[in-house]
Assembly symmetry: C3
Homo-oligomer: 668 residues x 3
C-alpha cells in the first residue's frame, strides 16, 4: 500500500437491482482503486441466528479483484440484526432515557456479553471468508464506535468496581469528589448512587472517562480477534469521527481517540464539512491533523462527502479542492461515503458519488478527474510527512470538564479549540493537534485551549516547555481544576502563576467590553467574548487590558519571560482578528512568521515533505473568486500542469482551484 | 334539509345554571335553526358503568323541538368517562410516549375491544333515545377521530399481520423497504421490530398509512351501528379537522379524509382560522374545497369560531364575512363552536357566541344579522354548486413522505400545498382540492404540489392528463419515490421526464439565489426558497433559471408541450409573486385568465350556481379598508340589498364587507 | 439579638483542607458576627444509618464561640444521604416525570413517613448537640422547602381524601369544577382520575394549593420538634425563596409564604438578583417587602450573593449598596451564601466571599468595610420600621390561575406583579406587599395585579376598601374566576362592575395598538401590551382608550368614584412610562406625590423609622455614574460620614454609592 488510495464505501446489499459489474466498471474508469465494504451489514451476513451467508461480500471481493480494486473489509458489528434484539433485548443499551428500541445503529451495550458473543462469532466467520482474498488490504474494526450512553445496572456495577479500585475507600472517594456537598457522601460502596442522577461534576466526569475507556477496551478486543486472521501486510484501522454540529467539528467527546487508536496499525477517520460558500478546509485541516497525530503517521480518510446533503451539493471544482486538501494533511486515502445514493431509510439524502439515478453525473465526472490525477501523482503525493513547529494541545478531560461547567452562551471546549486552530489555519501556520499523552517538547510553539482539567504533572510539563525555550500560549480556564475536576484551591491559573507571571481570583462575562492595548495594533473588532478573567500581572507584561469603567485595571492578555521561553496568557476570548494579532507576535518571536502568514485566507497554503524527500507546497483557493497569488517558495514544478514555477511568480488561482508545487531542492 | 342551516354546538351539560329555555329563545331570536349536541358527554349519559341517563339530551331535544330548532346528535365516544379508564386502563392508547393518562379527550385506543364494547353500548342507548325525536336531522359519528398515536403491542401485532398479508414473505418486505440498510433485515415475521424505533421511512410511512386506515374502519363501524337506528332523511356525517398550526391549515396527516368519508351521507368539517387583521378567507377556501370534494357535494361546516381565542376576537363585520364565505364554497351549514363560553377547563378561552357573562353581546348581535340574512336568502344560497376548471391534487402519502424526509427550514408538505392553493385564491381562481382517489380528467388545469410519494400508475395518470390536453403544473419533489417511499432509481422526476421534458439528479438548498427569466416579467422578490433542483431541460422550454455563479445553467421553471397539453415544472419554491406570474401564463393558455384574476386580493371573488340554476357572484373585501371594486360579471341583483347591479358598475365595499350578486341569466 | 447581623453560610464540611481557625479570624476581622451552619449536611451528621457524628457542627460552634460569632443552625433535612435513598427508594418523590433519582437536593417526598422518621431522628440528635451552645441564636427549619412536585400514589390518595372532605359528594365536586366537560365527571371517589393528566384547571389548581399546604404542614411539624429543644431567646426561622428566573423575581408559586410562615418566630429569605449594570435593587425591594409582610415585622436576609456567578461579579461599591438596601427594607441581617467558593459539584461557580483560592480578595475587602459600618451603625439601623401607605396585593391562587390559563407571550402573574411593583419602586413610592390573608384597610392606596382567582368575599373587601375612601387600582384579569378557578358567569370584572363603574365581555391581544388619552399626558411609548379588555364605561371616567380602527370606542383605563374612594382600572398592560403617569394621578389624589417621586430612578429613596423613633432616609444611586441629588427631607446627619445634612442641600452620589440621613426631629 504505497500509493494514494481513492475510493468509496460500497454496499452491494443496498442496491435496488443487480449492477455490481457495471459499478466496478464505472469505478475503474474513474481510477477508483479501493472500496470499503461489509460494515453495518450483519443482518445480510447472518440473516438468521447462526445461519451465515457471505454471498454479497464474496461476490464483491471477486468482481473487485478482477477489476484491480482493493478492499477494506469492515466488521459489521455496529448495527445489530433484528433477531438479536428480539431474542436478547438486553443487548440494547440502557441510557439515561431508558432502554433503547431496535431500529437505529449504535444502540447496543458494547459491554454486554450477549452482544460480544454474537459479535465475535460473526467477525470470525467473516474473517474466515474474506482473508482468502488477495485484494483485501486491511480491516476496519466496527465503525465510529462509542459508548452510546450505556449506563444500565451492569455498567454502573462495573463503574463502582472501577471506583473502588481507583480510590480504595469510600472515604477517599468522598474527599476527592467533595461528596460532603449536598449530603452526597457515601458510607459504603454498596450505597454508591446511580451516577446518572448526580449533581457532582467530578463523579459525572469520571463516568464519562470510564465510558470512553469502554471504547478502548472494545476496539482492542476486536483487534485481537481480527489479528488472528489478518495476513501480513493487511492493516487494522478504525473509522473515528469527531464532535458533530451538523458536520465534523472538534474533539470527539465520547472517545479518547489517542488511547483508542493504540490497537490499530493505521488511524482512520471520517470528515464531513460544510460546502458551497461555507467550504473553508478548516475541518479537513483540524480533523486531519488530529488523526495524523494519533499514531504520528499518515492516516486513512475513510469517509467524506461526495455530494451529501442538499446544502452540501458541491460547486464545480470543490470535490477536487477537498481531495487534495486531505492529501496535503497527510492522508493516504480519500474515500467517499458512498458510491451510490440510497433509496431508503434515514440516509437517503446523504448522497454518494452517484445520485439516486445511479448514472454517472456531475459528481462522478469530477471524481474521475481526481482519480486520474491521484493515479498520475501518487508517487509524489503518497505518504507526505508534515514537519510542523506548532502544536495545539487538546484534552478529552478538559472537554468533559467544560461540559460539566459550561461557559456562557453555549460556548463549549471545542469552540475554544477551534478559535485557536482556525486562527492558525487562516495564518497558513501548519500545525499538529496533540493530546496530553503526546510529548510536546520538540515544538517551538504550543497553544493550549482552555485546559480546564489537568493534573499537576501536566501543568508542570507546560511550565517546563516554556522554561526550556518554548513559546507557550494558554487560553482562559487553563489550570483551573485537577484531574478529578476539583478546582485547585489556589491562585489561578493554578500551578501556572509563576510561568505566566499572573494571578486571578475573579472572572466575569464580558458585556460591551473591548480589549485595548498600547502594545498591539488591534483590529476594529476588539470585543471580549464569552469569558473574561480579571488578571493581575505579577511580573508579566500586559499586552492588552479591558476597556471597562470599573475593571480597566485588569489585564486581558499578558506575556511573561519564563526561563528561556515566553508564556502568553489569553484571559478572554476575542475576535479572530485580535487573536491573530497576538499570534503574529508569538510566531514572529519564534521565527515562524513570513510571507505565507501574510498571504492569509482564503488562500490556504500547506507544506509537506514527500517520500522522495522533497518539499511539496499546496496553494489552495478557498473562494469562489479568481485570485492571483504570488508563489512564495523555492523554484519547483507545478505537479498538475507539469509547468515549472519560479519563486515570486504569480499563481493564477481559479475559483475553488489549487496548485501543487514540488520544490526542486531536496528537503534538508 | 333544503335550507341553510345556521347554528352552534350546545352543551346543556356544561351550563353553570339552568338556562335552557332562555338559550333557545335567544337562538330563535337570532334565527339559529340547528344545534349540535351530545358529542363528548359520555360521562353524563352513562354516569356509572351501565347506568344510563339521557336527561340532558332529551330535555334539549324537547325544548329545541318546541322552538323549531333542528338537532344534529353526536355520538359521545371521543371522550371516555373516568370510570372506564379506572376499570380498564388498557383503553388508554399506548403511544410513543407510553400509556396515556386519563384527562384529555381522544386518548383512547380506538382498536381496543374493551373500548369498542362500551362505545357500542352507549351509542345504541343514545340512538334508542334520540331517534324518537322528529327534530333530529342527522347524526355525527364521533368527533375529529384520529388514531391518537396508538401503537401498543396489540396495534403492532395487527400491523405485523397487515404487512404479512401485504408482502407475503419477509423477503419481499426486506426488498420493498430496503431493510438491508443498517442491518434492519428481518428473518421472520415474529422478529419484526417495533416500528416506533425505526429509522426506515418506508416502514414508518406504512405504519402511518395503517393508522389512518384504523380511522376508516372505526367510522365505518360506528356508521353501521347508527344506521340501524337512523330514520329516512336523517343523515350521517363526521366532523373532520385539518392539520393544525394554531388554526386549521392543510391536509390532515392522521386521517385520509377521502376514504374515511366513504361511510357518510354528507361530509362535515370544522374550520378555525386567524382573524382580525390576519383574516384572509384562505382557510375557509382551502378546507371548504377539500371537504366539498370528499363526496363531490355540498358539505356541513360543523364548527367554526364565533369569538374563539383573544387573538381571534372578530372585528365588526368579520363574522358576517366569514359566514357567507363558507356558503360561497358550498357549505350548507354554518355552525359555531359553540353557543356559550365555558367557565372551566382547557377551552375556557375558546369563546362561543355568548361570552362568559352568557348575555347577548357583540358577537351575538352580529350573529343575529347573519341568521336573518340566511333565513331570507336560503332559497338563493342553499346547495350552491361549484363548477371549477382547476384542481389541486393532494395526497396523504406525499405528506407522510415529506414528514419522513423533511424539506429544509421546517417546510412541510402542507406549506407547498398552500403555496399553490393560496396563489390561486389570491388570483380569484376558484378551484377544487382533490385526492389521488378522484378522477381529474375533466379539469383544464391540474396543480400538483410536491407529490413525493406516488405509484407509477398515478404518475402515468398525470402524464395522460397533459397528453390529452390538460395544463399540468407540478412542483419540486413530485415523482421522487414510489408508494413504499422508496426513491425511484431513475432520472428525476421519475416517470415524468418525458412529460415535463426535463431531468435532474442534483438539488440544493437555495442561498441568496434568485430566479431570472427572459420569458416572464418576474416581480421584485425573485428569491428561490427552501429547495432548488438543478434541472436540465431535455426538450422543455426554460421559463426561468437560477441567478447563481456556478449553477446558472440549470433551469428553475420549465414548460413542455406534451401531447395536446402542456406540462409546467416548478423546480424551486418561490415568492407568491413569482408563482402568480407563472400561473398567469398557465391560466391564460387555458383560457381562464380574466378581469377577476386581475382584480386580486384583498378582493376575493367566488362563483357558484344555485339550485335555480343561476350564477351567484360573491365579492368579498378581505381588508379593513373601504374599497371600490368594479362588478365584473353579468347584470344581476345584489341579494343583501335587493338592488340591481349592472356589469361594470362600481361596488362599494365596506371594511370586511361583501356583496352577493345573482346573475339574471340562467347558467347554461 | 438587637444588633445588625452580618454573616455568611459556613460549611466546615466542604473545606478542601483544615482552615477553621483561619476562617474565623478572617471573619472576625471583617466584623462578621453570625454564621449559618448545618443545613444540607445530613450525610456528614449521620454518615451511616443510625451512626451520628456532629464533629463538624460542634467544632464550628466552639471556635465561633471563642471568636464571638453567633450561629444559626439549620436542620439538615433538605438533602438526604445516599444510604437513605439506597435503602428506601420510596423517599424519592414521584413527580410527573416519574420517580426521581438520587443526586440533587430537594428530591424527596416530604410526606413520606419513612423520610419523616429519619428526618425527625437526625433533627433531634442535632438539637441535643447544638442546644448546649450559648452562641446559637436561632434555628432554620429545613431550607427553601417545597413540595418538589410530589404526586405519587400516596399523595394522590391524600388529595382524594382532601377533596372528599372539602366537597362531601362527587356531585358537588363535578359541579364546582365543571367536570361534565369532556366527560371528566366522576361517579365515585374511587374513580377520581390522576390529577397529573387533567385538562381541568380547577382540579389542577386545587392540587397546586394542596401541594402548597404540604409545605405548611411540613414546616409546622419541624417547628414542633425544634421547639422542644430551643432555649428562650432562640428563634425559629425559615429560608423562603422566590420565583426564579435566573434570579429571585416574584411570588413563589409552590409555597404560600404567608401561611407557611405561621410556625416561625421571624421570617427569613434569600434574595439573589442581577448585578453589574443590571443591578437595580428592585428584587431587594420586592422580595424584602414580601418577607417583611409575612409576620409584619423585621426579617432575616439569610442568603444573598457575595460574588455568585460570573455575570454577577460585583463592581466596586455594589456589595455595599446592596447590603444597606436590604437594611433599608427592614432586614436585620445580611448574610451571604456563602463564605467560601466550592471546589466541587453544581454550585462551584456560585462563588462566596472568598474565591476558590480561599484568600481575602476583592469581595472580602468590600465585605470588611460593610461589617465595620454595620457594627458602628447598628444602633441606628437595626430594627427599622416601615410606615408605608401603599400596598400591592399578591395571591398564590391568582398566580396558579394564570399558570393554568396563561396570558400571551409567556407573560405570567409575576410579570404583572412586578410591572406594578417596579413602577412604584422607580417612583420611590415605598410600599408593602401583602396577601389576601392580610388586612388592607389601613392603606391609602391598594394595587391589585391580575387577581384572576378570588372568592366573592375578597372581591367584596376590595370594593369596601374603595368605598371607605381608599384608592383602589386593579389590573386586567382581576375578578375573573372564583376560588375554584371557575369563571364567574357574569359581567366582568365580576363583582367589581359597580366599584369600577365598568363592564366588559370581550378581550383581545393587542397588535400595534396604542393607548390614547385626552386626560393624561402619556409618554412616547404608549403601546398596549399582552392583553386588552374591551371595556365599556358604565359610570366610570375614561382616562385612556385604544388607538384602533375598530375598537377605538372601548376604554383602556378608567377611574370611578366609588363611595368615598376611587377605583382605577387598567384594562391593558402598558409601558412603565404609561403606568407611572396613571400612578402619579392616583398617588397625587392620595396626597402621596412629592419631590421624592419626581426624583425617580436610578436614584432610589427608602424611608424608615428606627428604634429611637427617628426617620432614616436612604438615598441610593443605582447607576455607574456620579449623580448630584438634592436632599429632600428634613435636616439630619449623614450616618456614614457623620456630617450634618440640611434640607435642600446637594448629595454627591458616587457610582453605586449611597447616603443615609437620620433626621434630627423625632418621628411623630
Amino acid at each position: 500500500m504505497n500509493q494514494l488510495l481513492y475510493g468509496a464505501a460500497y454496499y452491494d446489499e443496498y442496491m435496488p437491482y443487480e449492477r455490481l459489474e457495471q459499478d466496478m466498471e464505472l469505478m475503474k474508469a474513474a481510477h477508483i482503486n479501493v472500496i470499503r465494504i461489509a460494515e453495518s451489514t450483519w443482518a445480510t451476513e447472518e440473516p438468521e441466528e447462526g445461519v451465515f451467508d457471505f454471498t454479497h461480500v464474496e461476490r464483491v471481493l471477486s468482481v473487485a479483484e478482477k477489476a484491480g480494486i482493493s478492499v477494506i473489509v469492515g466488521t459489521p458489528t455496529y448495527a445489530i440484526p433484528p433477531w438479536l434484539a428480539a431474542k436478547h433485548p438486553q443487548v440494547l443499551a440502557v441510557t439515561p432515557r431508558g432502554q433503547g428500541k431496535y431500529g437505529p445503529r449504535q444502540n447496543m451495550d458494547i459491554t454486554s456479553p450477549v452482544y460480544l458473543f454474537y459479535a465475535e462469532r460473526v467477525i470470525r466467520r467473516l474473517m474466515e471468508c474474506v482473508s482468502r482474498f488477495d485484494n483485501v488490504i486491511g480491516y476496519q474494526l466496527d465503525n465510529e464506535t462509542k459508548p452510546y450512553g450505556t449506563c444500565g445496572p451492569n455498567v454502573l456495577k462495573r463503574f463502582g468496581i472501577h471506583l473502588r479500585k481507583k480510590f480504595g475507600t469510600a472515604e477517599a472517594l468522598n474527599a476527592a469528589y467533595g461528596f460532603n456537598y449536598w449530603s452526597n457522601r457515601v458510607d459504603c460502596w454498596e450505597n454508591l448512587p446511580d451516577v446518572t442522577g448526580t449533581i457532582n461534576g467530578s463523579y459525572a466526569a469520571e463516568f464519562a472517562r470510564f465510558q470512553r475507556g469502554l471504547v478502548d477496551e472494545f476496539l482492542a478486543w476486536q483487534a485481537d480477534i481480527v489479528r488472528e486472521y489478518a495476513k501480513p501486510g493487511q492493516f487494522l484501522t478504525h473509522n473515528f469521527d469527531y464532535s458533530w454540529v451538523g458536520h465534523s467539528y472538534g474533539v470527539q467527546p465520547e472517545v479518547n481517540h489517542k488511547t483508542a487508536a493504540r490497537c490499530l496499525d493505521i488511524a482512520g477517520c471520517d470528515i464531513y464539512h460544510p460546502s458551497q460558500n461555507a467550504l473553508t478546509g478548516k475541518e479537513i485541516g483540524f480533523c486531519g491533523s488530529l488523526c495524523r497525530g494519533l499514531r504520528h503517521d499518515n492516516y486513512l480518510l475513510l469517509e467524506t462527502e461526495a455530494q451529501g446533503f442538499a446544502n452540501w451539493t458541491p460547486y464545480p471544482g470543490q470535490l477536487r479542492l477537498q481531495a487534495f486538501s486531505h492529501v496535503a494533511q497527510g492522508a493516504v486515502s480519500v474515500m467517499y461515503w458512498h458510491w451510490a445514493s440510497l433509496h431508503n431509510a434515514c440516509e437517503t439524502y446523504w448522497k454518494g458519488i452517484l445520485s439516486h439515478d445511479l448514472q454517472p453525473g456531475a459528481a462522478y465526472r469530477e471524481v474521475s478527474t481526481i482519480g486520474a490525477d491521484f493515479a498520475r501523482l501518487s508517487g509524489k503525493l503518497w505518504g507526505l510527512r508534515k514537519e510542523n513547529r506548532v502544536a495545539v494541545l487538546v484534552s478529552n478531560d478538559a472537554l468533559t470538564g467544560i461540559e460539566n461547567f459550561p461557559l456562557p452562551e453555549g460556548t463549549n471546549y471545542n469552540h475554544v479549540v477551534r478559535w485557536l486552530y482556525d486562527a492558525l489555519y487562516e495564518l497558513n501556520m501548519n500545525c499538529d493537534v496533540i493530546f496530553p499523552e503526546d510529548s510536546f517538547e520538540n515544538y517551538d510553539v504550543l497553544l493550549v485551549p482552555a485546559l480546564y482539567c489537568a493534573p499537576k504533572e501536566l501543568l508542570g510539563r507546560l511550565c517546563a516547555f516554556a522554561q526550556k525555550g518554548g513559546e507557550l500560549v494558554a487560553a482562559f480556564k487553563t489550570g483551573f481544576s485537577d484531574e478529578n475536576l476539583t478546582v485547585y484551591p489556589e491562585s489561578q491559573p493554578a500551578h501556572l502563576t509563576d510561568c505566566f507571571g499572573i494571578s486571578y481570583e475573579q472572572f466575569a462575562v464580558p458585556e460591551h467590553t473591548a480589549l485595548k492595548s498600547d502594545v498591539l495594533a488591534l483590529p476594529e473588532d476588539r470585543e471580549a467574548r464569552v469569558w473574561m478573567e480579571l488578571v493581575r500581572p505579577e511580573g508579566a507584561a500586559v499586552l492588552a487590558s479591558y476597556e471597562h469603567k470599573f475593571w480597566g485595571g485588569y489585564a486581558a492578555v499578558t506575556e511573561n519571560a519564563f526561563g528561556k521561553g515566553m508564556a502568553t496568557y489569553l484571559a478572554a476570548m476575542s475576535s479572530p482578528g485580535v487573536l491573530k494579532t497576538i499570534l503574529k507576535r508569538v510566531l514572529s518571536r519564534a521565527g515562524l512568521w513570513g510571507a505565507e502568514q501574510e498571504a492569509g485566507f482564503p488562500i490556504h497554503i500547506e507544506s509537506a515533505v514527500n517520500q522522495a524527500g522533497q518539499r511539496v507546497r499546496f496553494y489552495f483557493n478557498y473562494s469562489g473568486d479568481d485570485i492571483e497569488q504570488a508563489y512564495l517558495h523555492k523554484d519547483g514544478v507545478e505537479l498538475l500542469s507539469g509547468r515549472p514555477v519560479c519563486a515570486g511568480s504569480i499563481l493564477h488561482m481559479e475559483p475553488w482551484g489549487f496548485q501543487i508545487v514540488e520544490e526542486q531542492a531536496q528537503y534538508k
